[in-house]
Symmetry: D2
Subunit: 288 residues, 4 copies
């Protein structure tokens, strides 16, 4: 949890490129050149894809343009995909929900408590149930019925409008119980996170707690993952499990599992907002 | 871990029957009648199958015949499936292995340390690699090549001979890397335990660590389960997981996962030997 | 999590007496006599104190007086301390807080979600900060300054009044940052629970996260315990820990630890409300 | 777990100095100059002590002298304390034991399995009990009675002789149940690790499981720490806990805790052998 949000000139930089020698020296050279001091640094070279990943936090009393200009020769030379942001800047985030409030409640509580750096301009839902919760935290809330195909289409248009209107950087499915269209998944790729209420790849699809009960597993879990066109198959960001025993009914498994869902999703969103999540093919790099 | 092994008259009793009122009173009455004192008692009524399960530990200065005679009217009246054993009596156990020694090493170490009450007259293997480990602990070891179908048949015959010869009560597949024939699975049903090196139902079949790496899971695990004719589908006894991150290769996942495999299998065998594992359809009741 | 709250005639019974043979049979006989069916049963005989502890859930279409009358001969004969309650009846609970809202937020959320069966007529605080949170959940809230000894005395009188007025069965210190007087501790013994923000007995007293940082521990934790006259020395009900590393500041440890505090306290209150917590000298029996 | 042991030119470098800007660039420059490629890099700036810590893995087809010569100007300029080693080189390690074999068994098993890169020329003990275990793994074993002060002195002289004779780099107290003299602790500072069978700082001193039982804790644990002159007060390297309940006797707690002891100690030794443990005052930096 970085506390540098209010510190002038605390930057977070992510870099991805094909792995080859000299990258660290070149990058650190540009940072020295910008008058910066590296306060956090993590790197990883993927044997699977041959890519090199880096995340840096840098203290530098400079503005974005100057900093970028210093970095440009290096990012160009190595063909880097990169991001540069201010540490602690709240990410503009749109949350989608249905009826279950535990994930939304946790996101809102932590956002309010200052532990989760996101701006939450709006919650969109296909049910009105959670309006009061959003209202308590002073967050906008819209509910639209999503039963017919036309309504589904209209809801997805509303999502896109909201993204444009509020310049949304991340969409979070906080137990939104509708499958999004492949087009929308494609459009939002790499910036839409779902919480699935099982320990994937076990129990994909509907009613995972019922499946878990039937199979008699001894641990149940939750998985936060990027959404892709393939249901419950996107890159995994975080997973947690909790021990259960034979005496639990499916309904009890669901109640027990909700804690894991909340903390798993909140953790994934927190890491994403801190630029700690990078994609390496179908896998994620998490720089904790 | 009961320490009553050497205490005269410490009994463990398991009972299974269709659930209906009065069972506890009837059973406890028979125990009082036998001069017994209940020191541990667990019960469970399954909503899935309508069955009632009970495990009791009873101190009673009586012999088996007398005790059984006192219980018979109750077990008859309720149509109970039941077992009666002395607490801490070592279970006669046959272990099957291949090349990987971590599970066998853990079983042998704990058996020697007195934490796992089993008798291990023999280890059977399709490779000679672990002979020295068995020898160190003074346990018999036989290796037979299992490459051709004939050899497989002969090996399974040797398993059955061993079971008869040593009056084996439990067969443990401690990373035995061969699929047993459906006939043998059937014959040993309910008394043969396998350790699978993944968190089932995720990653069934071969190379689970490679699958786990490819899918990018954040926790890997192990599952001890009863063996049935359907590969990796038998009732689950115990599961554990451990956190991993993106930096782990499949080979490293395998090394990390071995600890979970060992402790998961040893735990399952310990519970089984203590008559703590009962079957409720495809699920297990574990009276810990 | 029992779901029997609305089921007519679902009872929970706890019994404590000196251990001797025949207790289970005597109790189950009285239950049969009352037309009851035991649906859950747990027992423990303490080697430390020689006491016997039992918790039963019983389905019986009877009223309290009849049930008690059936039990009376047994509870009298064995000199039992006992309680008889309806499964799922909400426990009347008073919560005390100061400024930190994470524990109160969790209690309120779970109470609202139906996972925690308590009635919360009032929250008392020495600071006004959490008034809005209580209000959102429709729970009364009173704040009184507690700076001078006189104010402290007045505050404790208000606690006692509230207990009397609302017939309070449990007092919860949800990060109430004042030490209660020995007299009040004594008066509420066995029905007042505190959350301490460390893994007791490590880091008693003030600023446990600062202490944890200084000592360089690799896990931080929280402890829910009964309050006694001796600070942070009462019987422990539940503990949890979470892994941390060298990079965490005391402020970050505090933020990380709050999750453990919330879930540990909520768990302890849940168990207490379900009559799962019994006292065995300085230790607790938890019938989960 | 680095697998680069046999790869020519895979180096591990640790650096400690007062924190100031430009360190990363200076170090990476020297590495580029030596023809090296950074494959792993971790750093930490301590707010407590103002020190900067770095651990690097570098692939470089160079010899030690050349590499050192390239690094010297940087390490000199910044006044760095540093180490340079080959990744995966086995650390020469002396193990001290008494009667309990679980920690030694785990160290030996993992060393043999190639998971723990240490050379174990000798095990020293004050009891002969574990001679057979050492022999099985082909490791030398000496037992000397340590009852009188003279014997204790002689034993410590034998420790020092062994260290000199085998050029020992790390001493491991694997449940060695004697307190070492302050002189020896001082002499071996920073290269002697103990396993304490409690979750420090709780339950220092003797019989921690008995203390844990008396206090009624719900989790028991183990702590691997550097040995200093103050008993059980040295910098903590690793800690683990496991859940227990009221039904456990002190003897059972001990049996349950042994697993945590073994894996905690083995983990600490593994990290130390991989140069992942650095000292920051009374705290450790662990670059996992």
């Amino acid at each position: 949890m970085p506390d540098g949000a209010n510190r002038a000139g605390h930057w977070v930089l992510t870099l991805v490129c094909t792995d080859r020698p000299g990258i660290v020296h070149a990058v650190s050279g540009a940072i020295v050149d910008a008058g910066g001091n590296i306060t956090e640094s993590q790197q990883f070279a993927s044997l699977d894809t041959g890519m090199f990943f880096m995340r840096l936090q840098v203290e530098a009393a400079t503005d974005r343009e100057t900093f970028q200009a210093k970095l440009a020769p290096v990012t160009d030379r190595y063909g880097m995909t990169w991001t540069l942001d201010v540490v602690g800047r709240p990410l503009r985030t749109l949350v989608l929900v249905s009826k279950a409030g535990h994930c939304l409640a946790d996101l809102l509580f932590r956002q309010r408590a200052g532990q989760l750096r996101v701006d939450l301009p709006l919650v969109l839902s296909n049910h009105p149930d959670l309006a009061g919760l959003a209202e308590f935290y002073g967050v906008g809330f819209e509910a639209h019925s999503v039963v017919s195909p036309e309504q589904k289409l209209a809801f997805e248009r509303r999502i896109i409008e909201t993204i444009d209107e509020h310049d949304i950087e991340l969409v979070v499915l906080a137990r939104y119980m509708q499958v999004l269209s492949p087009e929308l998944c494609e459009r939002l790729q790499g910036r839409i996170i779902n919480i699935h209420h099982s320990f994937l790849p076990g129990f994909k699809g509907a009613n995972p707690y019922r499946q878990a009960h039937a199979r008699g597993v001894k641990l149940i879990g939750a998985t936060a993952h990027f959404v892709t066109g393939e249901l419950d198959e996107g890159p995994i960001i975080e997973q947690n499990v909790v021990r259960v025993d034979h005496s639990r009914t499916p309904a009890e498994l669901m109640a027990i599992g909700q804690d894991e869902e909340s903390r798993t999703l909140t953790q994934a969103v927190t890491w994403f907002a801190e630029h700690r999540v990078l994609l390496d093919g179908q896998r994620t790099i998490i720089f904790r």
